[in-house]
Symmetry: D2
Subunit: 377 residues, 4 copies
């Protein structure tokens, strides 16, 4: 196995998820590359050290600029908040590094385009961690679509529902709640959750042609996490719903919120076509709904495919049929695909250009909501 030195920037929730992936990927996948957990970087030294010690990063450095320029580093993995993606990824591209960047690609499409240009200039492999493509059931849905089992698509139906910001007492900003601070996150549910939904949708059935949207900020003011007495205006979209027309003719509804009481992580999509339908809900991630009109009339019904057999995507690498994997495995599967792509020389999707297509739709959605009109893409 060839070793690949990795630098990770950021130690938050995604920093943990990626670290776990680096530690495990070679236990389960037979790969030409072995990632070496070389150096972790973030601003706060003590938390960084604890993070590195816990996960086995060999070194730490609070200066990410120095890290991305180290000649011994092969891969820069960006888990820093969204507002730092542009700067870090640009520097890493300039330094000729392979880049794996958390989603969304950037604060907006303008930034995203600069990053697409930067990696194009470097010519190095790059990936954006839209990890849900690596849920085996979602990969199976894609396979079913590609096998022609759905036929002409009439409808795409997507929602991503959570409920963790309903309380007005949830503060904003700081290390863990920067997703509520627009200056750091770029947007609310649109960039955080709908970006996943849009990435999945376009992967499944192609580009989006036009959108109409509405957004809302239900809680208008929150306390700062880092300055408890101080209250600030919330500027992100707490919720966003949009209609879309795909280039291929399908109609679509998308919705996302963090105010759907009782929905913890309902990342749902459904495709209805002439010959069949598929339906997926992340809250039952090991299952895929599939309906085919090809079944005999009196025996037709939605199939609940439990996606844990050895002939299902990714599953031969894991345990035995009937044994579930979980959230973290989507990152390990993604990493395995990325390392496989490095070895074979084929690009791993979604790369920066793919992620930029999603970013462009996100921008159009927010614009459509602001301007109360349909926006064509």
């Amino acid at each position: 196995m060839k070793q690949l030195n990795v630098a990770i920037i950021g130690y938050g929730f995604m920093g943990r998820a990626h670290s776990n992936a680096y530690r495990k990927v070679n236990n389960f996948f037979d790969l030409a590359y072995q990632p070496v957990m070389k150096v972790a970087s973030a601003r706060q030294a003590d938390q960084l050290d604890a993070f590195a010690a816990n996960w086995g990063w060999q070194e730490t450095d609070t200066d990410w600029r120095r890290v991305v320029e180290r000649p011994d580093i092969d891969v820069v993995d960006i888990c820093a908040p969204n507002n730092m993606h542009l700067e870090i990824a640009s520097a890493a591209a300039a330094a000729g590094k392979i880049i794996a960047c958390e989603k969304p690609l950037a604060m907006d499409a303008a930034e995203g385009q600069r990053l697409v240009d930067a990696v194009a200039a470097s010519g190095k492999p790059n990936m954006v961690w839209f990890n849900y493509r690596r849920v085996p059931a979602i990969a199976l849905a894609k396979q079913i679509v590609d096998e022609g089992r759905i036929g002409r698509v009439f409808h795409y139906r997507s929602r991503y529902l959570q409920d963790w910001t309903i309380s007005a007492d949830v503060p904003l900003g700081g290390n863990t709640l920067w997703r509520l601070d627009k200056s750091v996150s770029g947007s609310g549910v649109t960039g955080d959750l709908l970006a996943h939904s849009i990435d999945t949708a376009m992967w499944m059935i192609g580009p989006i042609a036009s959108v109409a949207a509405t957004t809302e900020t239900f809680i208008k003011e929150r306390e700062l996490q880092d300055d408890p007495g101080k209250r600030v205006t919330v500027e992100i979209d707490d919720a966003c719903a949009f209609l879309a027309r795909f280039a291929g003719g399908a109609m679509a509804t998308f919705e996302s919120t963090r105010y759907a009481r009782g929905r913890k992580n309902e990342n749902y999509f459904e495709i209805n076509g002439e010959k069949g339908s598929v339906a997926f809900n992340l809250e039952n991630a090991h299952e895929l709904g599939y309906f085919t009109h090809d079944d005999e009339g009196h025996l037709r019904g939605w199939r609940n495919i439990q996606v844990w057999d050895s002939d299902h995507p990714y599953m031969e690498h894991w345990w035995v049929p009937g044994c579930s994997i979980g959230y973290e495995h989507t990152f390990i599967n993604a990493l395995a695909d990325f390392l496989g792509g490095l070895a074979s020389g084929t690009k791993t999707c979604p790369d920066f250009a793919d992620a930029q297509a999603t970013q462009v739709v996100c921008d159009a959605v927010l614009q459509a909501a602001d301007e109360r009109r349909w926006v064509d893409l």
Copy 2:
């Protein structure tokens, strides 16, 4: 249409269900016979009159003996409590009437055999109202089995769970709670609920060869409904579970109780065979689970067949695809089958002889529980 004069004996819950069936069957089924709601009979005159007025029975008579001997009566429908089945059905058979009798057939197999002999002597059509055979999804399960889609059967799994007698304050006896009084009901859940389960099971996969069982009476004493101060010992089986081996080799578990908190009417069965499986739950009566190993490997999954398409059993007679029918329709479907059988001269199952086979198993189950041993049939 030929008219068929019906006499109903009993006005309780089943009296209502049957009356509704007589009123509706010709609205939905194209039949050679039209039942005429001629006379209703029961002991308590005032309640009988109210019942007859509500449902449109033309006459009432508190003397069932007189009723069953009326020459203008073609069909005697027995909805009286179990301890009256023997006497009424014997008289009706002796009078040469067509008989439709509520289940269970009798208090025990000895009584049941006398009734089988009586109707054999009369040579007249007869039916026992095991209405669940007429749930479209159960009829579809039977069709799937008969089409050979299950193959060699390994397992049968049955339960019938309710929770309405958990409170020690529920009284016993009287008009509405005679099911808790062994002298009237013959047994508890075994005759009331397991009789359904056994009838379905043997209809699906054939005769039962041996059983081992256990029963329990959780609430040992209850107040009499008709004599509130007085407490009596409860003698019925509150719950019964048994193992069975079918003549065809399949293993089975059966269980029934009225003490399963949260289970209102869970009449469930599942068949596992070499080629496929079916599963049904009365609490979602319009659905049938079906799994076939014949599906392509990566697309296999339990199908949820919504049994409301026009090519499903009974459904062409009802509304349009996607519109559910309910509990009461099982009786109407059963009646339509019975009237159809009268017209065609073919017997309608289950008749007294079929119901007696179930009665024999019920007796064996109670004996096996009493004697703590396997009983062979």
Copy 3:
């Protein structure tokens, strides 16, 4: 019981559903009024006669004008296609009749307003058959909302999905497929299915303030049912999706189609509020999902309320706990409410004015789709 002479106009699917309701309502509800099935009217004499004979309508008349003017008629029930509602209901109002009209109220809001004015002038009771308000689980959802258990509403999510027009071989027009002929139906899924969704939504959480929409006609041309060789352009909306903002601030998505493979009658809605959520799917009509944040933290979860206990809306009139009712019972429940309202002198919702509010939203939705802009109400 006071008798109420009913004239029914139309013998199609709704004619059957209403006839069944008239036949059954007094068997199950204790009411001051008893509807008498006096006369049925429709254009085709032979089919009308068969219909009347099957259901027990005493007389028939192919001239509906004569019927609505009969002095012995108390109630005119309109089941004729949508394009006849205006004329028939206007005449019935002018004749001073009580009116029960199928939904949608009219071809469009302009017609609807004329009808609202007409019944206002007559001062007689009137109702529009939005039967789904009488699904016990939907009535329970309303009760839960009214009990304050949801709190401030953030989201309303609605879809009504069917799949029966996917085949290009389905013809258009005639007796049974007039819903595909815009000149008869007024619109496609918007008036047929979304009208239900909108009625339910506004009943639950109040008026809609603005909408953005998109519609599609997937199959552009169909054969005429009554003129098999001839193909015509399909003008109805095969599918319609819209975003809405409620006056109370909630965001909403609505969608309806007849092209959702595998969805037979998925009339779904979900309400997410500060304190709790409810969710309903007509395909499991006896169930209501309910989530309350008031439950203890480690025990919180969506409850699956099986709406067949005696303390649930309407259910004390039916069988016993655990016994399901079906599609047809929504009409019987509606009729019982209407008859109850006649007796008590209180209006039964939705009346023509309520139905007109829905009609106005339907029109706005279609306009928003045509003009690709938000329409304020």
Copy 4:
């Protein structure tokens, strides 16, 4: 952190699951002990070396006797087939090692008792890996029972259904199919699957007092995996069902099979008590069904608790609410409990004595099936 040198014996499926646990436990749990993956032992050198290299075991040794006697080894983890548990565990106990042994404890209760005596003599901590106790939802069920929310227990209902041996072409024996060889496994589904069910049941509601059972071997003869031409008689129980009475009075049904078409890993149990019920299915391992009669009447319903909030057992150690864990995490949770117990000096359940209680029930079940009678414990 104190280091704890571990020797693992066996490299099969459980060897992988345990290795993964050793690698990950300290990343997620804050523990006083850190396991060191010191040495792996098994008979076949090349496969052992590959296993050790893949997982990071520092050394290998094909002689397990030498391994368990190494003074630098603190913990012996036994993943070898069942027929080797007695010998290895006895030697490890004699050498004064801490022991973690896979389930079932032994080939039968006689062997199990010798092991209980051996660890009692050594006085060292010991654990048997009944990993399903560490499914968060099962731990939550136990918590609910212990909180008194179920009340007097009436019923326990358990099944463990798989379908992987239906094909007569599945061979027997060798490295991966020794579970079908009675001389290696001791029994079929009884020791492999029902042992889990029995362990869970007795943990939940106490000891079992008596059993009646039936077993079957559906495929009578199979080819040897290691000697393809040769066919041998299958001696294990392919399926086993039993009735049980608990010492506390509850009735129970248990069933297990590898012949339930479409059931991949349905490890189900349900408890019905006076006040409430719980239900669990390993195929949806992140969910727990809970019904409480304490809810208001019209709002009662089974709750689907998604067991991934931070106040649920084990979940604070993992990702964020709404992110699932999988099969492998049950072993990591178990290991964390075991290491925590070593630190605190409290025994971790189930230890050898607890596992022996399960073994005794397994033996009684097989005896009851053989002798066709109830066996009292």
